[in-house]
């Protein structure tokens, strides 16, 4: 059955995939960051706080608004952009250069990185490979969009 995006179920499924791919993630090293994913649709946002620790996604929380003081950074964007990214990942097995997190967030035009603390912002780059591999796990899922 297809998982709806965005939803807690979607991130739970990624969490399961990440656990199954522990060898890959442990080779990449510790990932210690909490960040938010904010998906906008017609002026309303669905927000998920993802807490990573050591080699896995420890906790997923759907929240009405993102408190930037409680996360390292938030990745915000319209559902259209997230959809395009996930569909690209599904097609190619992983995001291509035009659809990876770094490119999409680079100038904040497609996805935007918002943060309270520049040190928290820098964690996106410190754990970039793991974060990208995490989203690339979408290739293993059937995802539907509203």
């Amino acid at each position: 059955m297809a998982l709806s995006f965005p939803s807690t179920d979607y991130f739970e499924a990624l969490k399961g995939q990440m656990k199954a791919a522990q060898e890959k993630f442990s080779r990449l090293g510790f990932i210690d960051t909490t960040f938010a994913v904010s998906v906008g649709n017609n002026g309303k946002a669905h927000n998920y706080v993802l807490e990573f620790e050591v080699y896995e996604l420890k906790n997923i929380d759907e929240v009405p608004t993102v408190d930037l003081k409680k996360v390292d950074f938030s990745i915000e964007g319209d559902e259209r952009v997230w959809r395009e990214m996930i569909e690209n990942i599904k097609r190619n097995g992983q995001a291509d250069t035009a659809h990876d997190i770094n490119t999409l967030t680079h100038f904040g035009e497609q996805l935007k990185i918002v943060y309270d603390d520049p040190d928290g912002h820098d964690k996106l780059y410190r754990f970039m490979e793991s974060i990208q591999e995490f989203f690339d796990l979408s290739s293993q899922l059937e995802v539907s969009f509203t």
């Binding site: 990449l28 090293g29 770094n102 603390d117 410190r126």
Partner: protein
């Protein structure tokens, strides 16, 4: 040699006598009841293993290192019993915690070990071989990677110059500097391999960039050097890696720039944290740090404006040499420069050096950028 031991031990009867006594079974055991704290550390999270944070306990921990380390000028391990005999002076010139410390340095050291990678085997070199980049664009890549090697040669020298001068009590921070040396050497390696693999050969070293890099490297104090190398330079390089990764011509480039981002992200994090700790504990240094940056910040423009960086960046960001590609490249690079400078001021603000953006000469020059 600059140092000769206080005795010729091969002739010293006291020393030889001690050896003979022990080997005859008469153990002195002066160390047996060492006056040290007895602890049994263990991992707080078995999945994470036994970290330095787990051993931040009592006299052994880093939290309790005093601001001024006056009682240790030797290699003695922090917390061990120093009373057993006369210890030599290793000549450390950095003995103040707030000159080198950052609250996240142990975390960053652990992270750097966990997130290690190997350029020889973790980069998909074959992908570049299968789909080579068109020649003029490859030349731009080769120039960029030549430039990045220069930056890493200097980045490698910074921790190397200082590590032996820093008090051994700051072992966790010194260990992070060792991780930085390996980071820099690995990035030097991957940029060199990439520059040559594409077939365009190495290109030209940059006079303006090297002059500026040397000025930053040769800062007189560690805190100043750290702001320049760990915060300003590493921050700029992080922005460059992000920029080029966003327009990466091949998956090989995308992969190596991803690792580069990770490594430089740690340097920036340490540099910001180090400045923050420094200013929290030495608030009077705010004035001198501003003055230092008044003089040295020009180097950021000297590096960004070097044609050996600027021109290949425009070409790579636009995807080629056609007029519309160059225009797109210029647009993108103009935004990249503004973003890089904005984030630099943001980090300084966060670290407690507020108001730098208003005081700095850089914004006045940036305002003049126009892209026709």
């Amino acid at each position: 040699m600059a140092f000769y031991a206080d005795k010729d031990y091969s002739e010293d009867q006291e020393v030889l006598g001690m050896m003979n006594e022990v080997m005859a079974g008469n153990l002195g055991l002066r160390w047996y009841n060492a006056n040290t704290e007895k602890i049994k550390g263990k991992p707080s999270n078995p999945e994470r293993g036994l970290t330095y944070q787990d051993l931040d306990i009592g006299t052994y921990g880093y939290t309790d290192i005093p601001e001024y380390v006056r009682t240790s000028q030797s290699m003695v391990a922090r917390g061990s019993d120093k009373s057993i005999g006369k210890l030599p002076d290793m000549g450390y010139v950095v003995n103040r915690k707030s000159d080198v410390w950052s609250d996240n340095v142990t975390e960053l050291y652990e992270e750097s070990k966990a997130r290690r990678w190997a350029p020889a085997t973790d980069i998909p070199w074959g992908a570049l071989g299968e789909k080579p980049v068109a020649e003029p664009l490859e030349a731009a890549c080769a120039q960029l990677y030549t430039f990045l090697q220069e930056c890493q040669l200097v980045s490698l020298d910074f921790p190397s110059r200082w590590v032996a001068l820093i008090n051994q009590d700051f072992i966790e921070q010194k260990s992070f500097m060792c991780a930085q040396m390996l980071d820099a050497s690995r990035l030097l390696e991957v940029f060199r391999k990439r520059a040559l693999y594409g077939g365009a050969g190495m290109k030209r070293a940059s006079v303006s960039a090297e002059q500026c890099l040397k000025e930053w490297l040769w800062a007189e104090t560690y805190p100043q050097g750290s702001v320049s190398i760990n915060l300003a330079l590493a921050g700029l390089l992080l922005n460059i890696y992000r920029q080029v990764a966003a327009f990466a011509p091949t998956t090989t480039d995308r992969a190596l720039l991803g690792y580069a981002m990770q490594d430089s992200g740690r340097w920036v994090s340490y540099g910001t944290g180090c400045l923050r700790y420094h200013l929290e504990h030495q608030p009077g240094q705010r004035v001198s740090m501003h003055e230092y940056l008044d003089e040295s910040e020009h180097a950021m423009l000297g590096i960004i404006g070097s044609p050996e960086l600027l021109e290949p960046l425009i070409i790579i960001s636009g995807g080629g040499f056609e007029k519309d590609q160059i225009k797109a490249g210029r647009d993108s690079v103009s935004r990249f420069i503004k973003l890089a400078v904005q984030e630099y001021f943001e980090r300084l603000d966060y670290a407690g050096l507020e108001g730098r953006a208003h005081r700095s000469r850089i914004p006045h020059v940036l305002e003049r950028i126009q892209v026709a």
